[in-house]
Amino acid sequence: MNKLRYRFQLSDLWELGKNESWFEHMASKGLHIKSIGKWLVTFEKGEPQNTRYRIDILYQPPTQEQLDVYKECGWELTTNKDIFYIFSSPENSNAPELHTDPMEQGFTFDLLNKEIKKNTIIFSIAAILVLSILFYVFFFDKEPYLNLIRRSSFNLIAMAIGYTYVLFASIRSFIAVKRIKNSLYNGIPINHKQSWKLSYFFSSTVYISLIVMVLASILTPFYTAIKREGYISKERLQDFPIPTIEEVENTKILDYYHDIQYNWSILAPIQYTIYEDGYVEGIMQEDFSGAYSQASLHIRYYELTFKSMAEGLVNDLIHRYYREYRYDWYTLDNEDMNNVFDQLYVGGRENTKLIFASSGNKVIYFKYPFTAAAAFAPAVLPKIVISATAFPPILLAP
């Protein structure tokens, strides 16, 4: 048995001329079309031959008599896909053309045109519906940037791209089929030598992108699962160069709990969420319930793919975490920070401070509840520096 070779389908088969000249080209390289699948065209490797190919649109499967007549005229059925029947004939047999009347061939596009018109309308409505929902989710939500950097947003973005393509492709086919039909109606025969190269490049790009997107959608959750860190021991914490509450509070912490979560998405490849929880000894509560108080640190850190998203993300984080707490807040100038930050917002009340900052493509949200509240003053802020080279943000103890 001869070796089989697979190629992505060039374009829709109703683009008769392009597909015919592509099949001819392949045959001249020794690859003879065998069958057409959903995506792939199977070729059989053999001797290079000059073969003519013609695609006929047959809404009814041809009868044996019909195939015999085609054969008698020099055209042998190679394969078919749906209503598209591919006939071949050796170049030197000089078989007469399959279609000798462009207008009659135009009629064979009639039903196809109607079918495609129906599909285009259905696809367009579906695509517009889905796209408007996605658009609404992303841009009319109060926190569009937080939505965009979510891991699941990749699937939504892929979906948006997919549906946009479907919309574009179905409208394009509708126009293209109508154009071919009209051209045949006007007596212009199919150009059997139409160039296929651009189409091949285009369809390969589409197929490869599709495969990449599907694979990425499948693999992303696995990748994230591997990368994700849950609870880590206090000893292992040393490996994570982030400030601990102990360092921040400069005191001993009881019932220590530390949680680092890593997340990944296309638009924010590095995302850390860090929670630290514990009790601080020695400070009498206002209600005299005990000589301890709860201390917790909450950090969200992002490195974005696009620097331009940083400002929006800071605003979203403020929307989510600041408004949530309803603190009075105030802003500080960048100049005070020696231009370490592009944006810096500090807010808070009593023993909790919130910091929202960005520097380049790095964005951080810091919730910093102080038991030693006095220690946290604007004067301490310049010492919080987002490392310019890599994670993590480094908090230099005051």
């Binding site: 008599e65 399959l98 009659e104 009639d110």
Partner: protein, 105 residues
């Protein structure tokens, strides 16, 4: 597109014409070539396209189908349509005579 009168394609005209005598596939092609005195050489794709269209429009009908080959014949409607088209073409030719007269002057 169902036929609703009006100009026929050359292929349609000759298939109808050839089917005045019931006939089948391959012989039909030869018949058309003969009737048109070798001028019209119809491809098989065109032939079967026309046949299925005309059958659907009931301008022709399958009179015999032994499972191996179908024999087609023109219907009453088909014959009327053909006659109308013939008249139309005839008057077109007559009207076109101006060219010749003009040429002779």
């Amino acid at each position: 597109m169902p036929y609703e009168g009006g100009p026929m394609t050359e292929a349609m005209y000759y298939v109808l014409l050839a089917l005045v005598h019931p006939n089948h596939g391959y012989q039909l092609m030869n018949e058309i070539e003969e009737v048109s005195k070798g001028r019209v050489k119809m491809g098989p794709g065109t032939l079967y396209g026309v046949l299925s269209r005309l059958e659907k429009d009931e301008l022709i009908v399958v009179v015999d189908n032994d499972g191996r080959r179908k024999t087609y014949a023109i219907t009453e409607d088909g014959l009327n349509a053909l006659k109308k088209e013939y008249e139309r073409l005839l008057s077109m030719v007559r009207d076109g005579a101006i060219i010749k007269e003009g040429h002779n002057e």
